[in-house]
Amino acid sequence: MIKKKETVAMLLAGGQGSRLHLLTERIAKPAVPFGGKYRIIDFPLSNCINSGIDTVGVLTQYQPLALNEYIGNGQPWDLDRTYGGVRTLPPYQAQKRADWYKGTANAIYQNIHFIDKFDPDYVVILSGDHIYKMNYAEMLESHKKNGADCTIAVFDVPLAEASRFGIMTTDSEMRITEFTEKPKEPKSTKASMGVYVFNKDKLFSYLEADEADENSSKDFGKNIIPAMLAAGEKLYAFEFSGYWKDVGTIDSLWEANMDLLGDRPTLSLKDREWRILSRNDAMPPHYVGSGAVVNNSIITEGCEIYGTVINSVLSAGVIVERGAVVRDSVVLGNVTLKAESTVDYSVIDSDTVVGVNAVIGKEKVLSKGITLVGGGLDIPDGTVIPDGVICGSEMLAELSAEKEGK
């Protein structure tokens, strides 16, 4: 017998995140590493368990292997449950149809039976693209208090950026009067965070209607929400004022990592009341050698630092050899920076080896932009990778050929 759950969360984790380029070549965006020992999906998953939601469906589609493996049985998040827990929900073949998830709404529609099994009153829809710490229970409280059919979490964004988001107009009671996806001339700065609470029955009926509509793009923002508004359903906004960041681009991912630094970081992961949980390998503590300099940085297990690390975030197992310098950078797991190499204002994907005397990027103040270096590369000694480029294996081959030519 399945026990009834008041709330089931559905986490949309199928996004490709193409603006993260090389970082999402082999893994889905929610599996992208963040903050030394986390992945983006740790944030919504930890928020769920910290908010008392113990039943989570994770909808996967693009490059699901790393994500499936990472989530596993959900044990790191305390989501390995006999009743409920976390399930990954890939697209599947049924008797009459076999479909990829065609849009966010369609992805949920295809998994209606999963939700229904738990007979919930409320369904929380989340996305695996954002870094934030949020108590969904408070949002659910407000949803119940308002007697809403749907509540959408909103975040106040600068007016200049508002046209990148779904923008809500509300009355004084926070009831939504208008919703426009990426408006050219935004009427408000209340941006949708992609966090929704629905009454289950309402959600199901709109999903079914939307599925039947051939012209629909099967998307929550574009179809479901406008349809509900048009029909006069009670939609409310829930204002969230904590830290929230869409890490959809290399720049925003870099910024979010930098937000962890400083005496009073904008985003703190040390909050014991709201722990962000993650799956960790068994790695020894990190070692800082005699000649090392480490300033305004965060470093985690398995690292060995003999060189200089300034304003940077290092993931597990990074080795910075003697004389190597890394500044204003995000270095992902198991990267080795060999002796006398220099890394400035860059993001380096996991398992890459940066050769002796290699130079990556340019000092931040002089740089054209962030340099992104792909994973698993073996960068030859003395290679120079210019600032503001995206360097994968092809570009590396070109750079090496050029160097040979000289």
Binding site: G36, L260, P284
Partner: protein
């Protein structure tokens, strides 16, 4: 693997009474994020032993917190897995002798557990040792030699000042044990010392236990091994990788400081396919602030460093205040140091608070120890 592991969580506790006042030997914190039992358990798990009985004594609360269901060692299992064996005291035998004091007595008290085990071999291990060993090699040798018992030994330099509780094993050229003796302190030099990781046939062990009950034997090493080595096949297995036994607070200090040596660190933590597992605590990474200076130190996650740390071991969640200088010290979990503190050769137990401006110093041979939860 056709072997069951038995871990003695509480042997030799008196030797490091500072650390074992409120915990078992097994749960003594070590190396930034580990507890001593992690080494014994990881050795077993990495050698394919997935059924482990953990013999407890007094004060095993902290040990149970650490082990939990055993999932961090992949020992939360329907078949086998880790079983905590609480002290065997019945309502009717509530006399002074109820609680065991030797390994043999402990084994007698877990007869029930042993008789349920289907494995043919038993691996017995203490947890006062820091090592990363491939036990399957030892098990293979045990099977191939047809021995009744195989004793783990390590060739070590013994002298009167470092070898108080050391047992020396003499063996012939075939590895057969010829004698077992306490180190007498007369001669200094290299000798094979007993490391208390032993393999024994389950049937043979059960015979020993029954024999001991009948004859009132107490000591596994002296009553059984020394007596039986003359007529049974008892052999040695020589460990050659890094190995440290913690028999005093001085040993604890020097063995901890050994971790600052890259070779030793590698031989413990960077062995292929043999990671050291421990309980996951989900600390955030460590933050180095503006002005932090860190040299030759091993640091766990969850720390915040504003001052200077030199030749030291920092456990999880330690805070080092501004202008504070910590050197040659071991600072355990969640210790907070204020500003302008100076510590040299200090060991702080968990949750210690050192207020602003305090100056404390011990010596390498006699580190200054601060009790759990103290305010200085």
């Amino acid at each position: 693997m056709n072997a069951v592991g038995i871990i003695f969580s509480s042997m030799n506790e008196k030797s490091v009474y500072e650390l074992t006042k409120e915990r078992t030997m097994a749960s003594v914190p070590f190396g930034c994020r580990y507890r001593l039992i992690d080494f014994a358990l990881s050795n077993m798990v990495n050698s394919g032993i997935t059924h482990v009985g953990l013999i407890t004594h007094y004060n095993y609360q902290s040990l149970m917190d650490h082990i939990g269901s055993g999932k961090d060692w992949d020992l939360a299992r329907r078949h086998g897995g880790i079983k905590i064996l609480p002290p065997y005291i019945t309502a009717f035998a509530n006399n002074d002798n109820a609680l065991y004091s030797t390994r043999l007595e402990a084994l007698i008290s877990i007869r029930e557990f042993l008789s349920e085990c289907k494995e043919e071999l038993v691996v017995l291990s203490d947890c006062d040792t820091v090592c990363n060993l491939d036990l399957s090699d030892m098990i293979e040798q045990h099977i191939a030699s047809g021995a009744d018992v195989t004793l783990g030994v390590k060739s070590s330099y013994v002298s009167s000042d470092n070898s108080r509780d050391v047992t020396v094993i003499n063996s012939d050229e075939n590895g057969r044990v010829t004698d077992v003796a306490d180190y007498s302190g007369i001669k200094s030099g290299f000798a094979d010392i007993l490391v208390r990781i032993n393999i024994i046939g389950k049937k043979y062990l059960e015979e020993i236990i029954n024999d001991s009950i009948a004859r009132g034997y107490h000591s596994f090493t002296y009553d059984i091994i020394r007596r039986n080595c003359r007529f049974d096949d008892i052999r040695v297995y020589k460990f050659d990788s890094y190995f440290a036994a913690i028999r005093s607070i001085g040993d604890y200090y020097s063995c901890s400081m050994d971790l600052l040596d890259p070779e030793i660190r590698r031989s413990l933590f960077a062995v292929r396919n043999r990671p050291v597992f421990t309980k996951v605590r989900n600390s955030a990474p460590t933050s180095y602030m503006e002005g932090a200076i860190v040299r030759n130190s091993l640091i766990a996650d969850g720390c915040v460093i504003q001052g200077t740390v030199e030749n030291s071991i920092l456990f999880r969640g330690v805070k080092v205040g501004k202008n504070t200088h910590i050197k040659n010290s071991i600072i355990m979990q969640d210790t907070l140091t204020g500003e302008n503190v100076y510590l040299n050769c200090v060991i702080t137990d968990k949750n210690v608070v050192i207020r602003d401006g305090r100056v404390l110093s011990g010596h390498e041979t006699k580190p200054f120890f601060i009790d759990k939860g103290s305010f200085v």
